[in-house]
Subunit: 157 residues, 2 copies
DNA sequence: GCATAGTGGACAACGTGGTTGTCCTCCACT
DNA sequence: AGTGGAGGACAACCACGTTGTCCACTATGC
């Protein structure tokens, strides 16, 4: 096979999609429907300090407008609240709600569980190698999440 | 770190994106601008027998409408031509042009070269393990390519 | 031979998650 | 006080999917 390079790329995309699709389904099963990993990741970023739209945009390497849309979605689903910043009247400070924290915890557990089960399947040392090899490939780049659509699909069972 | 599961997913996405972005840039540098890996993959599928919109849709696990749009893009860029099928007057038979073949060859070479260089970086046996571990995760699922936007960005250098 | 079911394809409307571009408010600095 | 820059909102647009509908044609069954 001479498509090995392309296949490899597809394999990575496939791996991500499998994980993301399962996580979406599992999250839905646990009561957080209509949530996709983007939301989880964004929430994570907000929690770890990206408390404004502009800042969130920077962290996720998307425009502030895109970040604002994500935030609007999160707000609508009650994962975050926005309140005017008393110190800077331009800003709307973001705050993760309890509901958001719960979702975050669920997401974390789901992803960790998937990792664990894969580890069981292929072996701990192989997984370690996979991770470090991927890290070598990806380097220090921030992983951008601007991938509309990649995750909004049903499992194909 | 307790985000290891989520990080792992992100790592895969990141790996894919690094590969895809580089391929896009490299393809552009070689005269095929405005081509993204989707096009390469679709062309590949057409070449290997998916010679109609419906069939292409089936192979790529998208609707025939989506496939038709991809085909329209490929046709516009002169990578394929559509001509009426003399035996079945409903069909428009697809044919990859020389220009398309050239792009395919370039794409292949680029992906293979990236694979080779990664192999050099992490070692051949590690790469083999990565591939088989990923294959174990992905399973027999067809990797869907319905990932709008994931690849149309500039490298961040 | 002919009605009916199914397939290929086109068109339109829509959804999602991005992008630019513009504008306004407010902060910060000279 | 005036000016530059940051935060944010709004609108238009793009890419790439999705449904839904419709038509032309093929294939099948009586």
């Amino acid at each position: 096979m001479s498509r090995s390079g392309a296949d490899l790329a597809l394999l990575m995309l496939g791996g991500f999609r499998v994980l993301a699709d399962r996580a979406t389904a599992e999250l839905a099963a646990r009561g957080h429907d209509d949530v996709r990993p983007v939301h989880d990741f964004a929430l994570q970023a907000i929690l770890s300090g990206a408390d404004s739209a502009s800042e969130l945009g920077r962290r996720m390497s998307v425009t502030k407008q895109a970040a604002a849309k994500t935030i609007a979605a999160l707000e609508e689903r009650r994962y975050v609240v926005r309140e005017p910043d008393p110190d800077d009247r331009r800003r709307m400070r973001l705050q993760v709600t309890d509901h958001g924290l719960a979702m975050l915890r669920e997401g974390e557990a789901i992803f960790d569980e998937m990792r664990r089960s894969w580890e069981e399947q292929v072996g701990a040392d192989v997984l370690r190698e996979v991770e470090s090899a991927l890290r070598a490939l990806v380097g220090d780049r921030t992983v951008r999440l601007d991938s509309p659509g990649w995750v909004g699909h049903e499992l194909e069972s």
